[in-house]
């Protein structure tokens, strides 16, 4: 299963917006997903990402699903955000 983050916008910045995105994912795309299901998170098309938004989505998804893959993470703000989550939020991927 693939989650295309650009469908939530190109500037993913605030914590409330991240929380909203996570809730929507839980009630739609991930509703019947198994814990061991392969989940791909696609960052293509995302212009700006912050740790606040990502903490509410990426960190939480990584706690919920063990087979998570991150795709198209070249954007500098995506890179810096993932580095922050790995360093301070315990993100393991």
């Amino acid at each position: 299963m693939k989650i295309e983050l650009k469908k939530f916008g190109t500037m993913l910045i605030s914590r409330p917006a991240g929380r909203e995105a996570f809730l929507i994912l839980q009630s739609s795309l991930l509703k019947d997903a198994r814990k061991d299901e392969k989940i791909e998170i696609d960052f293509s098309g995302v212009d700006v990402l912050t740790p606040s938004w990502a903490d509410e989505v990426i960190t939480k998804l990584s706690e919920q699903f063990k087979n998570l893959k991150l795709l198209n993470t070249e954007n500098e703000s995506v890179q810096a955000t993932l580095k922050t989550l790995r360093e301070y939020s315990g993100l393991k991927i």
């Binding site: 605030s14 700006v48 990402l49 606040s52 954007n75 500098e76």
Partner: protein, 322 residues
């Protein structure tokens, strides 16, 4: 010879226009100004220009701001581009009319013209000089921190998070459309986004004074340095952190913790990595940050320095140079 083309009504000439031409001139050797016709201005702006097209054209010709000034066409808005085949087309930061299909039209005409979005110009309502805009934005921010009428600063005051996000998006587009700042645009936007959103996150429902933030952007006259300023009239870092660390005494101590330790004032939420992200990104990219809260200031560049200052800011103030 490199030809640059700029479009506009240029009705009542003001410092913003002068700044516009000054920036455009830097992209080539010959600057051609295309003056919008009266009917076009009426159609786009919904009102007729104060001065008719002949006067506006003559004024630009006499001003020396451009090397050549010509009238736009009423029948074909691309006619000047077809005739002069510019190497660069300069657009104002908010110029959206006619620009939507410009890129594809240029391709169809088999032109290699580069489209450049110019910087916005923030006039200073308190000074006649417009050259000192870099300092002016800081002065305006400091005035906003004390004023009884924050809404007077409507170009910079973001009362809600939505307004902040919309303005940040606009600034991100400006940065992305400029060669010099394009590589930094995503990260700078993320840094400003974290700082601005922090103000809303930590003060929501608790604003001691007015809600919202001041958010401004400026570029130095030499084009070499950009500045983003953010400020709030919220609780400040010390009071915010005391929710979870009641023994915390000094602003300097609070700032150090906020920028270096993973701690959140919104327990049990897992959070508190925003300012660490800001600090690490600033250091990695060799940008500069000055952040003040209470009587403490933290400066981040290649290293991190915290000191007590004479100034006192009730909420938070941030100045990012890049």
């Amino acid at each position: 010879m490199k030809t640059v083309m700029a479009f506009g009504a240029f009705d009542i000439l003001h410092p913003g226009h002068i700044n516009f031409f000054k920036q455009a001139r830097k992209y080539g050797d010959c600057l051609i100004a295309v003056i919008a016709r009266d009917k076009t201005v009426l159609k786009i702006k919904g009102k007729a220009p104060r001065y008719n097209e002949k006067i506006r054209l003559q004024f630009i010709k006499n001003s020396g701001l451009a090397d050549k000034a010509v009238s736009g066409s009423l029948t074909d808005k691309y006619s000047a581009i077809k005739k002069y085949r510019p190497d660069v087309i300069c657009l104002g930061y908010d110029q959206t009319t006619f620009t939507d299909k410009l890129k594809s039209k240029i391709n169809k005409l088999k032109l290699s013209a580069k489209i450049v979005q110019l910087w916005p110009y923030y006039p200073d309502k308190f000074k006649s000089s417009f050259l000192d805009m870099n300092n002016n934005i800081e002065n305006l921010m400091k005035e906003w921190l004390k004023t009884d009428n924050p809404e007077d600063y409507r170009d910079y005051y973001c009362e809600t998070r939505d307004v902040f996000q919309a303005r940040l998006e606009k600034i991100k587009n400006i940065l992305s459309n400029n060669d010099k700042t394009n590589p930094s645009a995503p990260l700078i936007s993320a840094i400003a986004g974290e700082i601005g959103n922090n103000s809303f996150d930590h003060n929501m429902g608790n604003w001691p004074d007015i809600m919202g933030i001041f958010f401004g952007f400026a570029i130095s006259d030499s084009d070499n340095e950009c500045k983003i300023v953010l400020a709030d009239r919220g609780l400040g870092v010390l009071k915010t952190l005391r929710r979870v660390m009641p023994d915390l005494k000094h602003n300097t101590e609070a700032l150090e913790i906020a920028f270096t330790k993973t701690i959140t004032s919104r327990f049990p939420e897992k959070r508190g990595n925003g300012l660490k992200f800001v600090k690490n990104s600033i250091m990695a990219k060799k940008f500069k940050l000055k952040f003040i809260s209470g009587n403490a200031q933290i400066s981040v560049s290649h290293d991190l320095q915290i000191k007590k200052i004479d100034e006192y800011i009730g909420g938070c103030l941030a100045i990012i140079n890049f």
